[in-house]
Symmetry: C2
């Protein structure tokens, strides 16, 4: 059997890096599917998935940031007559 | 201790669903960070991360779809003088 050349080593290193990315991408897709399943389950028992996504987003924010955003949102709503 | 009311049960169910989503979102973010790390590692040993992302995308496609996309891309490139 021939010794691997430098080019082969490099190809192999690239292949391994690409395959690691691919495995991680698969994992990320699996988790995204799990998230979709939780929302589907929530919907099945009567919750509104769109509102839940908003709640997840709001809970991720710092309270000060959230309050500021809500204040600005109220200002814009008033400006546009969304009473 | 008071019995939980129906409203409390419902609130608790909503909270658990939201918390499951939040854990999964954390997990997804962790995986995305891992992917970024692999690209950083690849870059550190001399690979071009942008090209690697293209390779990952191309490897995900069915060969027929990939060849079709490449043919159309060539057509558009010719049309726009990207020899």
């Amino acid at each position: 059997m021939a010794e691997p050349t430098d080019a082969n080593d490099t190809d192999q290193r690239l292949r391994l890096l690409i395959e690691r990315v691919e495995r991680l991408e698969e994992e990320k897709k699996g988790t995204a599917d799990d998230i979709r399943d939780v929302y589907a389950e929530a919907k099945a028992v009567g919750y509104d998935a769109k509102i839940m996504r908003q709640i997840v987003r709001l809970r991720k924010m710092k309270p000060d940031d959230r309050r500021e955003m809500e204040a600005i949102l109220d200002t814009y709503k008033s400006a546009l007559g969304l009473g």
